[in-house]
């Protein structure tokens, strides 16, 4: 790990001033950043510790029924908050399907949004990676790439965004509040992320010094609480990143879908909202035929970036399965194996 200057500011404005310097980085819990620094992938010269900043460590109910979650709220605390889990069950399920209990106890909301890709070539400093070293090339493009992107990728970068949490957040129109050198602004979470294009090193629209201070979920998103799921295929049942995941939420009336939301994880450099599929679902019957049609539309622009053609069909099946589970209704309690396809409800086909 390279040496660095450690600063623990007392106010948000001091933090922004300290972090606007070149090669500065914010430190929250550090569960991703310290790992990257130990591997020599990230080499900040200054760490600005934001864990003690006032007011960022709690969640509050808003007048519109929504919730504002401080950026330093820990993943486990949010997932186990009974009101939150009841109101936004797919988000709670996604949180509990990510990482391990130890990591969820430490990892913060803000840090989760800004975690880096787990592309093995990004992590291996002996490999060429345009994200780590702009212009170096991409060894993943013709390497071991069965887990890489099938949507929104470019020749410069085929890495995926690893977060589970962000998938249902994007589905439910979450907003991020950002403090920066020019004051406070807010942004749809979906618009925080950039697709790689020719500049995969620029992953978000954040500017130097910008600090995510809070995340908001609109009260309107609670209306999906009765039919909302997150489903995640991984290479082992727990403590693994998604190969493909889907968040699905429905408003169902008499077997018909009034409104639908759908987003995918593990398929692109950002959590992938499937708006065209949502249009297919709205007004249609909540059945397998409709779900498959929506899945086809959601992946209509997908192309393999390597040995990952299977992910396209897998994503379609996971969409069908997630929609089927959402239509069946949110369980009263999150399954013992959160988001696992192996935690089935009776009557639902495993090979949907």
């Amino acid at each position: 790990m390279n040496d660095f200057e450690y600063i623990r500011p007392a106010t948000v404005s001091d933090a922004i001033a300290a972090a606007a310097a070149p090669d500065a980085a914010y430190l929250a819990s550090g569960t991703n950043l310290l790992d990257l620094m130990k591997g020599g992938i990230s080499r900040p010269k200054r760490l600005v510790d934001v864990t003690r900043l006032p007011g960022l460590d709690r969640a509050e109910r808003l007048a519109d029924g929504g919730i504002r979650i401080g950026a330093m709220v820990r993943n486990a605390d949010l997932a186990h908050d009974p009101d939150f889990a009841k109101s936004y069950p797919a988000v709670a399920e996604a949180l509990l399907s990510g990482a391990s209990a130890q990591l969820r106890n430490a990892a913060t909301v803000g840090g989760n949004l800004l975690q880096r890709t787990r592309c093995g070539y990004f992590y291996d400093t002996a490999s060429a990676c345009n994200k780590r070293e702009p212009g170096a090339g991409c060894d993943a493009r013709h390497g071991e790439n069965r887990l890489h992107a099938v949507l929104g990728w470019s020749e410069a970068c085929i890495a995926t965004h690893p977060s589970d949490f962000c998938v249902p957040l994007v589905m439910l129109d979450a907003i991020v509040e950002i403090e920066g050198r020019s004051g406070r602004r807010e942004l749809a979470l979906e618009a925080l992320y950039r697709l790689p294009g020719d500049t995969p090193e620029r992953e978000t629209v954040l500017e130097p010094g910008d600090l995510i201070v809070a995340l908001r979920l609109p009260g309107e998103a609670r209306a999906f609480a009765a039919h909302a799921r997150y489903l995640k295929v991984r290479e082992r049942t727990s403590y693994a990143f998604a190969v493909v995941s889907a968040a699905a939420a429905l408003k169902v009336e008499a077997g018909k879908i009034r409104e639908a939301r759908l987003a995918l994880g593990g398929v692109a450099a950002k959590p992938w909202r499937a708006r065209a599929a949502e249009q297919i679902l709205a007004g249609a019957r909540a059945d397998a035929v409709t779900f498959r049609r929506a899945a086809e539309v959601a992946l209509s622009e997908a192309t393999p970036s390597g040995d990952n053609l299977f992910k396209i069909e897998l994503a379609k099946r996971i969409i069908v399965r997630a929609l089927t589970l959402a239509a069946a209704g949110t369980p009263a309690r999150i399954a013992a194996l959160p988001a696992s396809p192996f935690a089935s409800v009776s009557g639902v086909l495993h090979d949907a």
């Binding site: 790990m1 040496d3 660095f4 200057e5 450690y6 623990r8 430190l27 819990s29 550090g30 569960t31 310290l34 790992d35 130990k38 591997g39 760490l47 510790d49 864990t51 486990a76 186990h80 990482a99 391990s100 209990a101 130890q102 990591l103 106890n105 430490a106 727990s238 403590y239 013992a336 194996l337 959160p338």
Partner: protein, 165 residues
Amino acid sequence: MNLSISLTVNGLRRDIELSDPRVTLLDLLRERLDLTGTKKGCDRGQCGACTVLVDGRRINSCLALAVSLDGADILTIEGVAHGDQLHPVQAAFIAHDGLQCGFCTPGQIMSAIGLIDEAQAGDDPERIREGMSGNLCRCGAYAGITEAVLDAQQALATANQRRSA
């Protein structure tokens, strides 16, 4: 830059001058405080051997900067027994053969204590396995570990009932 911190470690207050901001909680415990019960496995947050409780919550001490934890209360495997009387989780690991080589065991036990405090798993073995998935055991003592956690949880609940009766 002032890098002096104070921690409460296993009930004792420790004032520590850090020579370097890079020191993780794990390295501080092992190298500076000679508390080598906490193990360094992967050092990257993947194996759970370094699990300790910080302010009552289980975390990976390899992925925490000591300087950032100034003022925290730390509990390690060295602090869980009362003299010669083992913590109920320690006793249950022995009773149920929840170990073979023992390298992962301090992390397993600290993680199990954290899991029982979190009170999310109940007596469902599947939820216990899921809740313990951040602790790898290369010897594969998982069946015994699950039984030990179930048993210890029961023993702690009974002891608490007796105390409140």
